[in-house]
């Protein structure tokens, strides 16, 4: 069984159809890269996986998305539980105006965990998971804004991991970072896939090649090609994919 299984997805912003009959399945503990030019629907697809598009008015979805075999758009789905299971990291690091510790503990507290020992354990584990512990262990009470951009992004990933999701969505997580911070996040993605299923939107072809197991190429709302990353970057089957990854698009 696939971890994520989307079937015949059509998605509309008002009258505008953003996704056309997209069917895409992802295995557990893999990294899937979503690539394609701006406006191709890759971020829209990503946001469907934790129902972030529900927050936008006048949208409509047909088709189904199953996570662990459960339809996440079924009427009885608890969206809060879904978002606990499907964490998300955004393009720009967005720490809260709180201490480093509180940033990671926040999600736990919101989810009703009050035991200080459990919170502390989870915070430490999460910060360790993102390889940030050595850099922040002596300044946990300091503002998260004092961290560098790369550290802030890793902190945001730690925040997402603290509530123990099984899926992590990343929307261009390194586009605002320098090469060293980017490299750290990429190493982190590689480590995290042992425990999580990761879906990453990226405009960086080399990054897709470096971090992902499978790659999906979207164009004008359609899924043009989905295959092993190695195949996509060495021998894509579709001319549109070849043109895009070799920079000859349009």
């Amino acid at each position: 069984m696939h971890k994520i299984e989307s079937k015949n997805i059509n998605f509309y912003y008002g009258e505008t159809q953003a996704l056309h009959d997209v069917s895409l399945s992802m295995k557990e503990n893999t990294v899937t890269a979503l690539i394609g030019p701006s406006g191709c629907g890759k971020s829209t697809y990503l946001r469907l996986l934790n129902r972030m598009n529900d927050l936008i008015d006048n949208t409509n979805l047909t088709g189904s998305i199953l996570i662990d075999g459960q339809d996440i758009y079924a009427k009885n789905t608890n969206v809060d539980d879904l978002r606990k299971n499907v964490g998300m990291v955004f393009q720009k690091p967005n720490p809260f105006p709180k201490s480093i510790f509180e940033n990671v503990a926040y999600g736990l507290k919101v989810n009703g965990i009050t035991d200080k020992k459990i919170i502390e354990e989870r915070v430490i584990t999460s910060i360790e998971q993102v390889a940030l512990w050595g850099e922040v262990k002596d300044k946990l009470k300091k503002s998260a804004f004092e961290l560098s951009g790369g550290q802030q992004q890793r902190l945001c990933i730690a925040r997402a991991l603290a509530i123990q999701p099984s899926i992590l969505l990343m929307d261009e997580p390194t586009s605002a970072l320098d090469p060293i911070s980017t490299s750290k996040i990429e190493e982190l993605i590689y480590e995290l896939k042992n425990k999580y299923t990761i879906v990453i939107v990226t405009h960086n072809m080399q990054q897709a090649g470096r971090v992902s197991d499978t790659t999906a190429f979207f164009y004008m709302g359609e899924l043009i090609e989905y295959d092993k990353t190695k195949t996509i970057f060495t021998k894509p089957s579709q001319k549109q994919t070849e043109d895009y990854i070799t920079g000859r698009f349009g």
């Binding site: 072809m205 970057f233 060495t234 990854i245 920079g247 000859r248």
Partner: protein, 229 residues
């Protein structure tokens, strides 16, 4: 206007065509030398050899620059990988041609021997395979690749037979040992040129189809070339 990488790839293609043509002319000179036809002056041949060496280095530099600056993928990546290998093969073809020219000077009664052991055919076929190799890179015509594989096999078989006959002749007539040995070396060089051409055809096949066929047996390659359409 093409993108920056396209300009670089076109430049690379141009250099390979140039170095390929130079190697082809060296092979022509080598065959002429072997068949006792008038040969271009040694100076010219040496000049061409130097040009080939310089272009070989140039190709490495251009490929390195494309890798570093453009991170090529898919067909671009295959083209650059192939270009580096092809350049290496061509450079060695040039060296072998020079060696044939040098060795040919030391074969006494050359004309009689090359007629006796049917070496004219082999030499002409090596010229042909060199021309076809340049053609297959330029046109990416898959049927030409198949022809190259077949021709290489023919050259190999005919050369083996000629070498066998020359060795037998040397056993009978010891006066032919020096010329015979040089002739065997020349035949081996011709065979190697044909092999390098075949290697180039394999890289062109890889460029087109993303399938590595080097080290495959001749019959398997033939099977592939039969199904190219």
């Amino acid at each position: 206007m093409g993108s920056h990488i396209e300009t670089e790839l076109e430049k690379l293609k141009g250099i390979i065509i140039k170095i390929g043509n130079l190697a082809e002319s060296q092979v022509t000179e080598a065959v002429k030398a072997l068949l006792s036809e008038p040969v271009t002056e040694g100076k010219e041949v040496k000049k061409t050899e130097n040009k080939i060496d310089r272009l070989d280095v140039k190709i490495d530099e251009v490929c390195q620059s494309i890798f570093a600056l453009h991170q090529p993928v898919a067909s671009d990546l295959r083209f650059i990988m192939s270009a580096m290998q092809i350049s290496n093969e061509i450079e060695r073809i040039g060296d072998l041609a020079i060696s044939i020219i040098k060795k040919s000077k030391n074969i006494k009664d050359k004309h009689d021997l090359i007629v006796k052991f049917s070496i004219v055919d082999i030499a002409r076929q090596v010229e042909t395979i060199t021309i076809k190799t340049n053609e297959c890179f330029l046109t990416r015509n898959e049927s030409t690749i198949g022809e190259i594989f077949i021709l290489n096999n023919t050259i190999k078989n005919e050369s083996d037979e000629a070498i066998h006959n020359i060795i037998n002749e040397m056993k009978i007539n010891s006066k032919t040992v020096v010329s015979g040995t040089n002739l065997v070396i020349v035949l081996k060089h011709l065979e190697r040129i044909s092999e390098h051409c075949t290697n180039i055809a394999e890289y062109v096949y890889f460029m087109i189809n993303a399938k590595i066929i080097k080290h495959e047996k001749f019959d398997d390659k033939k099977f592939d070339s039969d199904n190219l359409d």
